[in-house]
Amino acid sequence: MKAKKVMALVLCAAMVTGMSATAVFAANDPTAQFDGLKANEAYEFPMMVKSFQSTYWDAAQEGMKKAADELGVTYKAQGPNSESDIADQVNMINTAIASNPVGLGLAACDTSSVQDALKTCAEKGIPVVTFDTGIADAPEGSVVCEVCTDNTQAGSVAAENMYNSIKDVVKDADGQVIIGEVNQDATAQNIQQRGTGFINKMIELLKADGKTVAVTGNEFYVNAAEGADAEEKDADVIIQVAVPAQTTVELCSTEAQAILSQENCIAVFGSNQVSAEGVLAANNNLNVLGSDAANGDVIGVGFDAGSIIKAAVKDGTFVGAVTQSPLMMGYYAIYALTAAANGQELEDVPTEGYWYDATNMDDEDIAPNLYD
């Protein structure tokens, strides 16, 4: 009898822990807010993409279609000829708003140009879900949910995976070693977060292994770094951050070359498509990148996709790269819009950056995100 009681207690305890674990999980996973979601009506949403130029947006639409099929709603994807045709997109948005849709999906080409349109949405009570690009200073009450990449997390994924490849080299290094990072700018929020996410995670990993770290180079990133504890001259590891004067592949390449041509450089990270391609362009002449760090290869990690970066990952020039998930962004944007049209209160849905390398780039859940 006593044994039974004990058993019951243990079971209860187990159930309670299990429940609380689920509860904690739900609080951390914003997609849980869409559990069991059904559309109250057959809604139709206008979805504004930035352009139809790149297969990135095809992937986003694939996600939208999947969600729309699941929920029984429809959407109409629209977008200007190119991501720089800001005025065209604003016109399209205004036309869409004029027909009073139940909700609007928006990936703004230029976040400041859509402020008026967003104000109109707020006045008319049209819920807006932003995807891909968040709008930090959106008018009150317009944007009900943001479905964007968690760039800090995406940067840290790059750092973690890079560290796996260079861990032993760092441990056995005789003198100081350098890890480079090329960021195309120090002004766009997504690049800032990504660059800083990488640096801070790398510092954390290095310090956990007892190394001292200094961050040098671009002022913004040096100031944004947390936990760097050493002076440049006596740090075990230097994280050297370069930002070109303009966002061209040429200047990214020159910066990458200046980093890569240092003998004690062991790894480099290019934090978006342009800067990662700049790293590859620099490597064309230097030929130092590879996947065997122990034999002196410099470990390269990229970001985003495109056929050049994909080819570099496939042949081992880059050990891997981090891709955003346009597919999931499109998918959750439709879910968020449906929930908003139902009248549900929403919290933002950050989507993850995924690591891909030669071994998993053909996997079902990765391949659709790797646009050309």
Partner: protein, 326 residues
């Protein structure tokens, strides 16, 4: 008069050459990484399209005009060529010819607008700048074939790679073509009717017309030549740029135009030299390549580049004034 000007010109080129030597010495002294063969290789890789654009735009600048459409034009032609290769299985050689053809076409359009219809060059080429930028944006981001891919042979025009991987040797053969082109165009400028008329239009268009020169025709041809070189630049650009991105290219013309002025083309037109342009571009390239090596951050790179350009152009103006007061 012409004789005096010629001696000033050669001085300017000499001074620019000195600037190049001094800059190289400074960068080499401050960074041992800079003193590497691969640095020169990369600098040359990225110099070809700047240089080709600069050779072309030297001619409009000598007439006292300008061509602002070369940067966006170059990117647009490279995008269109790349799209033809990727989506239409077009042979690379055809895509290259398309680049050149489009360059000539837009050049002719510029020429007609400016030479025949008398639009101000700044305005006319600003319009074609917008047109080419828009046209390029109709394409999606396209990489041309890589060196090892089908059709990648066109890279060997600019750089011969012997062997693969780390043991490969690379020879920047493009540099030879550039020297050849510079010498040809220098000859064209100084020893052909076309070249002399280009200078004549820049010195005094009315006088040139009164002396019986078909000013309209030669004015159009100046922009056609510029377009032709922009088309060539598009091929060089495609060879070094992994993925040509739509909507880019604005601003690239400024490096080329800056290099031409450093090389001693008069800001008011009327004289200049292609050899001057050649050395001028290398001042710009050295600054772009060397400043990151000595650890200067982006903002300082631009400030210093701007200052060097001012100094280079000022030297020219001061010398010209001195010569005039003699």
């Amino acid at each position: 008069m012409t004789k005096k000007k010629k001696s000033i010109l050669s001085d300017q080129r000499f001074i620019v050459l000195l600037v190049i030597i001094v800059l190289s010495a400074i960068f080499s002294g401050m960074s041992k990484e800079f003193r590497q063969y691969t640095t020169i290789l990369s600098m040359l890789d990225f110099s070809y399209y700047d240089l080709l654009m600069a050779i072309g735009v030297t001619f409009p600048l000598i007439t006292g005009g300008v061509d602002l459409s070369i940067g966006t034009g170059m990117v647009a032609y490279a995008l269109i060529g790349g799209t033809l290769i990727r989506n239409n299985n077009c042979p690379v050689v055809i895509a290259m010819l398309v680049c050149i053809g489009l360059g000539v076409l837009i050049g002719a359009l510029n020429g007609v607008l400016i030479g025949v219809m008398n639009l101000p060059p700044f305005l006319a080429t600003l319009c074609t700048c917008m047109i080419t930028r828009g046209a390029g944006s109709l394409c999606s981001a396209t990489p041309w074939p890589g060196l090892t891919q089908d059709g990648g042979w066109f890279h060997t025009i600019f750089k011969i790679t012997v062997g693969t991987g780390r043991s490969a040797s690379r020879y920047p053969i493009g540099f030879l073509w550039m020297i050849l082109l510079v010498l040809i165009m220098e000859f064209v400028l100084n020893h052909t009717k076309f070249g002399r008329y280009t200078i004549a239009i820049g010195s005094n268009k009315e006088a040139a017309a009164l002396s019986g020169i078909n000013v309209k025709f030669y004015h159009v041809m100046v922009y056609v030549i510029c377009g032709l070189f922009t088309g060539l630049a598009a091929i060089a650009y495609a060879a070094v740029t992994p993925t040509v991105q739509p909507g880019t290219g604005a601003g690239l013309e400024m490096d080329a135009i800056g290099g031409v002025f450093v090389g001693g083309v008069a800001a008011t037109g009327g004289y200049g030299s292609v050899i001057g342009t050649f050395v001028g571009i290398f001042v710009i390239m050295l600054l772009k390549t060397g400043l990151p090596y000595i650890g200067l951050q982006a903002n300082w790179q631009q400030i210093i580049t701007g200052i060097v350009l001012i100094v280079a152009v000022l030297i020219d103006i001061v010398k010209e004034k001195k010569a005039a007061t003699k």
